[in-house]
């Protein structure tokens, strides 16, 4: 093995790397924010009194959770364009990500909701809380608090999955890397640099989610329970 590593060849492209990293983070934040709302709604729908609603949401969750993300992206992106519906790659990617992360979130939040003891809901009803208040304060927030670690690791997996959107030529970190390695012919170095950047983003997100947890779960903060 007499390969000369040449990371300097990549230096002129640092702005592209940065731009790619920012796009990756943007896609993740948008998709996670919308996906969280959809996931919570689906989790509530899974407990609904209407069997057909439970069934429809259940089918959605099972289909998304049992097929690969890359196939979902191809299905959505190429499928929509075959119907003559073309949209910017960024939106198509985020759309696919929202559908994906929504299903996983729904399943995680549902597990948290099931862990809420029925007596707590009965107690809340006895105190005369409205249905909305019960859902928000008794069911939703405590269950999200309980499954928060699982949620954050799912969101970080989603961030890593944004790399797959490069396959429909989204200009996020991996897409940028694909371009750069075709200019410089330094493919090995490029992907090592990219891997390091992903690692940094992973830690940034973990830090961010931890900060969010400290802000929105005051009980945890008081008790000093680690998340």
């Amino acid at each position: 093995m007499n390969y000369q590593f040449d990371f300097e060849a990549l230096l002129p492209y640092w702005q592209s790397f940065l731009q790619g990293a920012i796009t990756t983070i943007q896609m993740t934040i948008v998709a996670v924010a919308i996906g969280l709302v959809i996931g919570v709604l689906c989790a509530i729908a899974r407990r609904s009194a209407y069997p057909w609603l439970r069934l429809v949401v259940g089918i959605y969750i099972e289909i998304v959770r049992n097929t690969p993300f890359i196939v979902q992206i191809f299905f959505i992106f190429f499928g929509l364009s075959s119907m003559g519906l073309t949209m910017p790659v960024f939106f198509a990617s985020v759309f696919a990500m929202v559908i994906n992360v929504g299903a996983y979130t729904a399943e995680i939040v549902r597990a948290g909701m099931e862990a809420v003891h029925p007596s707590q809901i009965e107690a809340a009803e006895a105190l005369g809380l409205s249905r909305f208040q019960i859902y928000r304060d008794i069911i939703l927030m405590p269950s999200i608090e309980r499954v928060y670690p699982a949620l954050t690791s799912q969101f970080i997996l989603m961030m890593l999955s944004t790399s797959i959107t490069s396959q429909i030529s989204a200009e996020e970190l991996t897409g940028v890397a694909n371009n750069i390695q075709s200019y410089t012919f330094r493919s090995f170095e490029t992907y090592i640099v990219i891997a390091a950047i992903y690692l940094v983003i992973t830690y940034l997100l973990r830090f961010g989610f931890h900060a969010i947890a400290l802000a929105i779960f005051p009980r945890r903060r008081r008790l000093g329970t680690p998340l």
């Binding site: 093995m1 390969y3 099972e62 890359i70 191809f74 075959s82 797959i164 490069s166 390695q181 493919s187």
Partner: protein
């Protein structure tokens, strides 16, 4: 030329499905062996070994599998090893699954009550005897549901082997779509195939979990 979807296309997709299953099995077998060693290192009494394996796990879990595939594919080429795509994809999937399986199994080993370790040590069992005869039989019971759950993950992630040119189900679907351009149909069938493999595993994992929890309810 584009007569539409024929049985030949379906057969090609089925072939892709077979390769997906082969790659998944390979990744699980190799990754399982490697993951066992990762688990041993993560629970080892030697501190630097624990640290080293932690760094390994953090790096693999903190970077996308797609990038890992690229690094291996281009990296091996750079060193001068020309691997067939199946082996390149297999090595990538092995490294990926070793980190995740190692971490899952570490959790299971650590969830065996501390007293079991201590009692085994009091009986003057060696570290190997403690592990093989006392801890693993108990840990394996806990480890089965998450391991089966991870197999779903593994089958789905073999789809990323398509980017290094390995013709499994996703690649086969892409190839057909490039000539026919009926994405809803073709990727729909591919998704259905994946679903047929993954859904039974998901159901199995869930039922195992329920059985395991019977005592605790």
């Amino acid at each position: 030329m584009t007569d539409g979807f024929t049985t030949n296309h379906l057969f090609y997709l089925l072939q892709g499905l077979v390769w997906t299953v082969v790659l998944s099995a390979l990744a699980f077998a190799l990754g399982g062996v490697a993951g066992f060693f990762v688990m041993l290192a993560r629970t080892s009494p030697i501190r630097w070994l624990r640290r080293l394996s932690l760094i390994y796990v953090q790096i693999i879990q903190g970077t996308p599998l797609l990038i890992l595939m690229f690094v291996i594919y281009f990296g091996l080429g750079v060193i001068g090893i020309e691997l067939p795509p199946l082996m390149a994809a297999g090595v990538g999937m092995m490294i990926y699954s070793s980190a995740y399986l190692g971490e899952i199994w570490r959790g299971c080993v650590e969830s065996v009550p501390r007293t079991q370790f201590e009692a085994a040590e009091c009986l003057a069992l060696t570290r190997w005897q403690v592990l093989i005869d006392v801890i693993l039989p108990q840990a394996m019971r806990i480890a089965t549901p998450p391991t089966v759950g991870f197999m779903v993950q593994l089958v789905k992630n073999t789809s990323l082997a398509s980017v290094v040119g390995f013709v499994e189900l996703t690649r086969a679907a892409q190839v057909i779509n490039n000539s026919l351009f009926q994405p809803f149909l073709i990727f729909g069938i591919a998704a259905a195939f994946y679903f047929c493999v993954c859904y039974p595993l998901s159901v199995w994992s869930r039922s195992l979990e329920r059985k395991l929890n019977v005592g605790r309810r």
